[in-house]
């Protein structure tokens, strides 16, 4: 039998502009792949894609919803980029989001019946601290006990989810709530200010934008950012340069957790207004895709969060107009990641055909 021998080689230099263009290519491939799926399901692909990607943002309300969804995604992804850039694989942003929500929500319930400008900032701050502390668990276990942060951070997601479940069913459930698994509605002073009458877009977007700016500053203009960059490229070099590896692992997890916590508290004080079982439609997991689609770059992440937010909205519209399940949105998210990883592979490696050879096996 003759077989074609294939060798995979690393490419020597990858141009920077193509590096930032491949995510765009991945998005087009996703549209194409999505069109094929819709065609197989018996829809006109062009029409279906229009329902998915154009209809949801064709009015002001839709645009506002887009920003409402992009706000937490962008915030979490920015935080994750600190971890990923320095080779720390924090997969548990969802848990940090929920824990931030729990702590922020707890404080909000504590201030029930309180009025004052100070209430909201305290809630937001406590949410950030909650997420930060929760993220420090995998960081400390990694630095002092050599555990795998992927496993620990992922498993802690379920701990946070179950804790939230317990709280909203039991001790924190609304005394006037007919045993529904939810807390009281937060008081007005514990809610994010709405930016426009009639739309859901809220002040959380400013927190996200400020975080994006600060992250850019830290990553590109500070010594900490430089250390993160070097550690991400070569841990051996970081050690040789004398960077404090352990401290840095804890710092990036703290930043990441705080961002996820902020996102959580932004959700419960923004669009939701109380704690219940499903405060996040897996924003913490989807943000991993956002972070990579945005090339771990603050500006890239802004664009990526808008695109991925659109898949959430598109799925809802498609459910209404095409009667397909809303999980189609996750299919699209999966396709984006798949095509991104695929094109990255071809970007960094080339495939060489070495010709036919007799197979002696």
């Amino acid at each position: 039998m003759e077989v074609q021998l294939i060798k995979i080689e690393k490419r020597n230099d990858v141009s920077r502009s193509i590096y930032f263009l491949t995510p765009v290519l991945a998005i087009f491939l996703t549209l194409f792949g999505g069109g094929i799926i819709f065609y197989i399901l018996g829809f006109n692909p062009i029409e279906a894609l229009k329902f998915f990607f154009i209809t949801p943002i064709s009015d002001l309300y839709g645009l506002s919803e887009l920003l409402v969804k992009a706000t937490p995604l962008c915030l979490i992804a920015i935080g994750l980029s600190f971890c990923f850039k320095s080779n720390n694989w924090n997969i548990g942003a969802e848990g940090q989001l929920i824990f931030g929500g729990i702590v922020g929500g707890g404080v909000a319930l504590l201030f029930y019946n309180h009025d004052g400008f100070y209430v909201l900032p305290i809630i937001i701050l406590s949410g950030a601290i909650g997420g930060m502390l929760f993220a420090m668990i995998p960081a400390i276990l990694k630095t002092y006990f050599n555990t795998n942060e992927i496993l620990v951070s992922l498993m802690l997601v379920y701990v946070a989810k179950l804790l939230l479940d317990f709280l909203v069913v039991g001790p924190w459930s609304n005394p006037e709530g007919f045993n529904f698994p939810e807390t009281r509605q937060f008081s007005e002073s514990a809610r994010m200010p709405i930016l426009f009458e009639g739309l859901r877009i809220h002040a959380g977007i400013f927190i996200t934008l400020i975080t994006v700016f600060l992250s850019w500053l830290i990553l590109f203009k500070t010594y900490l950012g430089f250390q993160i960059k070097v550690s991400g490229l070569s841990l051996k070099t970081a050690k040789y340069a004398g960077y404090k590896g352990k401290t840095m692992i804890i710092i990036v997890f703290m930043i990441s957790g705080a961002c996820a916590g902020l996102a959580g508290v932004g959700e419960i004080t923004g669009p939701i207004g109380q704690l219940h079982r499903n405060i996040s439609p897996d924003y913490g997991f989807t943000a991993i895709i956002v972070a990579f689609l945005g090339r771990l770059n603050p500006v890239g992440i802004i664009f990526a969060s808008l695109i991925v937010a659109l898949t959430y909205l598109g799925a809802e519209t498609a459910q209404i107009f095409l009667q397909v399940p809303k999980y189609t949105g996750q299919v699209f998210q999966g396709m984006i990641l798949f095509f991104l990883l695929g094109s990255d592979y071809l970007l960094f490696f080339k495939i060489k055909f070495l010709g036919l050879k007799k197979n002696e096996l």
Partner: protein, 499 residues
């Protein structure tokens, strides 16, 4: 069972280096053969050719007078050539038996009977059903050997097998190897340890710079004669002017330093003592893997040791990390210039910023001072004649020589009192080597000290004022460079002792 193995006119050329140059050797069963040589002598390449990992450019291999083609490790197995590598290829979490059955085509029951026979015959004591990670290095090696024995090998090649073994395990191994040899297995034993050659092997082939320089019976050899052949006698080339440092100030003192590693592939350091005077260059010779890496990391602060053993200019530095040591005017040039001393994906000026300390002002109040770093980088590029003036260039586009100049320049431009460098010229062309050597001599002339850890003896003799040898994590006594001969160096590097 009579086996004859012959390699004939084998040549293998890598870019910039002839690994094997018309190597011809003959082996016959019933004897244990030693293949002796320094790093880079060509032993490993030859062994890789015999085990099918590397294809020779020219030459043939004959097994029992028949020419055989070894295009892959599978071909080697088919021809009953077994190989035990220095680093084990075992699945740690699988049991011993599972590891053995993975690449065997026998039924599990048959295999178990066979393995038990082998265990009994050679008196190996290994529990087949424990996970491999619970075994000692010596036991893991036995598993590798059993894996070869299952296939009834005619030839068994052992690549530096004792580097991870204790003394007791080494003795055990030798007993087993002698038994295998009696049973008709041809054994080729690769090493650079002279004592092992004399106590185990019947014949010894010495390789140097890709060529076989001698084949002889071990009965006719002594440690001294083998050392001479291994290292070569043309060592006394240009030497630096030797100075007398008796009255100079002491810069560095290490006393009774011990280091024990958790990693079995790392070397433990035992009771190290050394001292260094101002303006002096101390050379540390040795065959690689004898503790040089660990010693470098201890000097640079990548490995932190208990506080009392390292004094630098009368200050205790054992607990300081590399960045903190730089504040005390130490500088370091590691062996691995591509993935440790510099990051290829970073721009030149970013790589320069890796050597950062307070007075450099690269980072003020936590912010990057790009202008300062770039100015500083420009100065390095011109002072150390690096072949570019573009500080924005990614370091991956620099040749090895230019990258090493950049690294040495980065370390030296701060006028450190001590430079520790580890194989600063490996893989470089002659021009770059000369430049680096001149630079290293220059800093000594300026009254700065240096520690040169190197596996290149020519380099050591050219640059050092005093030389010692590291062997199995121990330092020999420190000798004045003008009294060092090729013979002495060779004996010490091979684990022998001199008076």
């Amino acid at each position: 069972m009579n086996t004859k193995l012959k390699v004939s006119e084998i040549s293998k050329i890598y870019p910039g280096c002839i690994a094997n140059d018309k190597v011809s050797l003959e082996f016959g069963s019933g004897k244990i053969y030693a293949l002796l040589g320094e790093n880079g002598a060509g032993k490993s390449t030859l062994v890789k050719i015999l085990s099918g990992v590397v294809k020779p450019d020219k030459g043939e291999v004959f097994l029992n007078d028949e020419s055989i083609k070894l295009n892959s490790p599978l071909d080697a197995k088919k021809n009953n050539i077994g190989m035990v590598f220095q680093h084990f290829n075992l699945f740690e979490t699988l049991s011993v038996f599972e590891n053995l059955s993975i690449d065997s085509d026998k039924k599990d029951e048959d295999l178990r009977v066979l393995v038990n026979d082998i265990l009994k015959k050679y008196n190996f004591k290994i529990d087949l059903d424990v996970p491999v990670l619970n075994l000692s290095a010596g036991q893991k090696q036995k598993v590798e050997i059993i894996r070869c024995l299952i296939r009834n090998p005619k030839v068994l090649i052992m690549d530096e097998p004792t580097s991870v073994l204790t003394e007791q395990e080494t003795d055990d191994l030798f007993i087993s190897l002698k038994k295998f040899s009696k049973d008709g297995i041809l054994i080729i034993y690769i090493t650079h340890k002279l004592k092992e050659v004399l106590s185990l092997c019947d014949e010894v082939a010495v390789m140097r710079k890709g060529k076989v320089v001698s084949v002889s019976n071990t009965i006719d050899e002594k440690i001294e004669s083998l050392a001479n052949k291994m290292v070569g006698e043309n060592l006394n080339t240009i030497k630096k002017k030797i100075n007398n440092f008796k009255n100079s100030e002491e810069i560095l003192k290490i006393s009774n330093l011990n280091f024990k590693s958790d990693d079995p592939y790392e070397t433990n350091l035992n009771n190290l003592n050394l001292s260094l005077k101002k303006g002096e260059c101390l050379g540390i010779a040795g065959i690689s893997g004898n503790g040089q890496n660990e010693l470098f990391q201890i000097l640079s602060g990548e490995i932190i040791t208990e506080g009392t053993s390292i004094m630098f200019r009368n200050k205790e530095i054992g607990k300081l990390n590399p960045r903190e040591r730089r504040e005390y005017l130490m500088a370091f040039s590691p062996e691995d210039r591509i993935s440790q001393a510099a990051v290829p994906e970073l721009k030149i000026y970013e790589n320069v910023a890796l050597n950062n300390f307070k007075s450099s002002n690269f980072f003020e109040k936590g912010l990057v001072n790009e202008k300062k770093i770039k100015e500083h980088s420009k100065k390095i590029l011109s002072n150390f004649s690096v072949n570019t003036d573009n500080v924005e260039l990614k370091s991956q586009f620099l040749s090895g020589g230019n990258l090493q100049k950049l690294i040495i320049g980065r370390e030296l431009i701060t006028s450190p009192e001590l430079l520790v460098c580890f194989n600063p010229t490996w893989g470089l062309d002659v021009g770059a080597i000369n430049y680096i050597h001149e630079t290293l001599i220059q800093i000594n002339e300026q009254g700065k000290s240096s520690v040169l850890i190197s596996t290149d003896n020519d380099e050591l003799l050219k640059l050092s004022d005093r030389i010692c040898v590291i062997y199995k994590g121990k330092l020999s006594k420190i000798m004045n460079a003008d009294t060092v001969t090729a013979e002495k160096l060779g004996i010490l590097m091979g684990g022998g002792s001199i008076d």
